[in-house]
Symmetry: D2
Subunit: 289 residues, 4 copies
């Protein structure tokens, strides 16, 4: 009945597409679109198809088993239904990224649905609730102020995870969530947590990056959306873009330009992930547009 997405990645070998399309044909699945890519550096094969059954439904588990039977050991096979999967957004104080996602969802331009927003500050609650989405405040302040009162980082992250998991999201988006997360926390959501950060040429570490960019006289301001891994801001890149600035732009206007490009790049990345177009391959992504 409904459209399914078939995702395969495995070491490359001769005849993989021949074998995969053989299985799909045997199961009477029409391939609506399909893309494959071989990373020649690592000889790794990636395949994505959208299929529709000629009759009856797709038995996802059986299809997966059939595919695994013809593929090399170590193949990863996923079969997912095309639908608007649940997503949780984590925020701190900045409204532009979460606002863009809320708006896209509200007007039907997001291939997923926001089921909850979690903030370590309560500031964005009115904006979120305006869209009829539940907002959960998971404060960390006690942690900062009175580290001895028992709400340590672990306790905060457990509360955060509980708030996220209550919505059973398929995808988690850090939309300018400004707390560093522990490797343990990050590993819970491996491959399905997306972050956005500003990017500059050259790069600037530390506080007040737009001030630094201004002082350095950059002519471009950018943004990078990536999967979150234990290495802060260094996970596999999903999307990037830049916008031009010049000497007449104050740090405030540079920050505004940065906000604009951040929200666009994040929205682009979120759409790609929700449509199952992104494979993670080591430190890289393969994006099947």
């Amino acid at each position: 009945m409904s459209r399914q997405i078939v995702l395969v990645d495995c070491p490359d070998s001769v005849g993989l597409i021949h074998r995969i399309t053989g299985v799909l044909g045997d199961r009477r699945l029409n391939i609506e679109t399909n893309q494959e890519f071989v990373d020649t550096a690592t000889r790794h094969f990636f395949f994505r198809a959208e299929v529709v059954p000629a009759d009856g439904a797709v038995a996802a588990a059986a299809l997966r088993a059939d595919l695994e039977r013809v593929l090399p050991a170590g193949a990863t096979v996923r079969v997912t239904a095309v639908d608007r999967r649940p997503m949780v957004v984590c925020v701190t104080r900045e409204p532009h990224c979460v606002g863009e996602l809320l708006l896209l969802d509200a007007v039907g331009e997001l291939p997923g649905r926001i089921v909850g927003v979690v903030g370590n500050h309560d500031l964005l609650r009115p904006l979120v609730e305006r869209f009829g989405i539940p907002f959960t405040h998971v404060p960390h302040q006690r942690l900062d102020r009175v580290p001895s009162d028992g709400l340590d980082r672990g306790a905060h992250e457990r509360a955060l995870a509980a708030a996220i998991d209550a919505h059973a999201p398929a995808v988690i988006v850090l939309a300018r969530y400004m707390r560093v997360l522990s490797p343990d926390f990050v590993s819970r959501y491996a491959g399905r947590m997306i972050n956005i950060h500003h990017s500059f040429l050259p790069a600037f570490a530390g506080a007040a990056p737009y001030r630094q960019a201004f002082d350095r006289g950059v002519k471009l301001i950018g943004a990078t959306a990536h999967f979150v891994t234990a290495e802060l801001d260094d996970g596999p890149i999903i999307a990037q873009d830049v916008t031009p600035v010049d000497h007449a732009d104050t740090p405030e206007r540079m920050a505004q330009a940065g906000s604009d490009v951040e929200k666009l790049v994040l929205a682009r990345a979120v759409r790609l992930v929700l449509e199952d177009r992104v494979f993670v391959h080591g430190r890289r992504t393969v994006v099947m547009r």
Copy 2:
């Protein structure tokens, strides 16, 4: 031995990739890269692979016959060797596009080689000869001045075709060639003659387009590279790009910006065609990056 490119396009049907990869496997051809695309609007299938024989050489004609045997009626199959194919460039007075191609060729960044340049003016001869490339002048002036002397459009186009064909080019590039060509002439080179023209939002017909663009206050100036068909400036588009301008740009600076984007877009299109990455499909192209 050498790498070959296999190109297929045909009406879509079930199992096409399965059949094609079956033939390639039977002939012991390793697929180095391969891309396919189905145009869902017209249910048409496109396939491009780069293959290397596991042993011995590729018998191109036999491979083509094998593929045609398993494909639907009306399939187009091409098997081409990866090499630097000969190209002729046609020019009038403007140096920027032909200069870019000459330079890319000279420094080894063009997947083809310029074997001759033909001009309806003699102005660019020194630039071309500086690169050691033969320049042929095929004037049309007598046509313009004394239409009764027998050098009619047909005679001019016959002379032009002779000058082009003397080099037996695989690809012909109109690099700001400023004469309208007849449908008869164009049809000789169907699918292998590329043109560049400036593009604006909105579009401007007639003379002095940069002056019109200035008068209209456009904020973007663009270029479109396309295959030449009987419809002037309206063949299938291969590549497009734009560059920003503003009120402070004079018509001269707009023309300079236009020259810069034209040469880049043309070079991009020429590379794509020389690497056999472009299928023509009705009025559209399918570009296998």
Copy 3:
């Protein structure tokens, strides 16, 4: 006290800046930023400054009079306060452009404030009211269905103007408002009504432009924001941008890409106008970034 914007445009002559800055100095106004531009083609001079009084307030009318006294006949002088001026947005069915403006306003990233939205359909009322902004429905259906019932175009436009004018807006934005407006109506809001429309290379007239763009195989999709004049879609351009597409993009994905670029270009244009950075000069604009 508060910051003021001083705008001058007039035929160019020797010493204009000398004279203007003399007046500003006499009135003890500190120039915070100032930009000027001479259109060399028409010898027309444009000047924009942001000034802050060294003491006391700015007497706008007196300042204007002083400036006019030193400027050539026919000079236009405006002195405006920097504040968040009221804006009305007109819509039909598409949410992306108005949604972007509502969101920017809600999060404090718009140098103006939306005081009302007027629609010829009622469809977007929930989205607009979610932001606490009044929505007025001014239907035109009776006009279309029963042209003889007295609600002719003139009556509809009078109702529309009344709905707009009730909010006393400084700026009116047509955010995908899909009715053609009469020259009479347009002239009421000369120089302060902004429209957005999609733009393509080549251009497509008539219905279903994204379908046409798809059929033509364009590689870029764009948007143009412009002041509304009696010539439909042909007023002075404020901002333009494009986004790349390719053969794999369906008409639906092209329309999505178009929506994304439209909302960005419109927001950029609205910001420029609200900050008094745009001069209209014949069919062109001068944009003081």
Copy 4:
């Protein structure tokens, strides 16, 4: 007679433009275009005008003295003639950047003229001499191989400076010159030596940057043109741009994309500098477009 460029930068104070334009008017100089900018962070004023004398010639030294008389202490005043100033290009092995500049010069699209090319390898001599430009080989090999033979870094740089200075250039361009230069050497050419380097998000130190960019899966590749200062690759930025890449781009194709954007950004920067449009202000530039 001829057009002159007047450049002023000094601490901001009230009435600067009034005073400058007063001097220009007294000397009967018509201002053809003029731009000014105040850096509000440092309260520094920048002014550029192109002027044409109403009669007679411009006495540059006297004009400079008149201007200095009305400006604050510490003002920098330059008066330069608009002409095609001499430029030397330094190269190593890569042809794309020097080739672009040679071509632009050859076709009259460079507001300067290349009077010599100096290489630490001899490889690009044929390309350069094809354009009729003298090529000087200043090898450093003996230095590398036999550091004790007396050709130390200082000796090499003295030879390089001699080769450059023999042409008395106004501007020196490092077009992929791959040797680190000493602060002493760099200071000889302060404010008139331009370098191009690749830029990535994130940045990559060390060898084989395109390989690193590939391994990291970047989606953008960029280039930065900057003035050379004692801090390697960290001088004031003149121009930057990027080009998109994706997972299907090999390191070789990424390097090709990088070459394309490098040559464009370098050419843009060289034009801006040759037209005296760039002020250096601390670590930033002010670019008067």
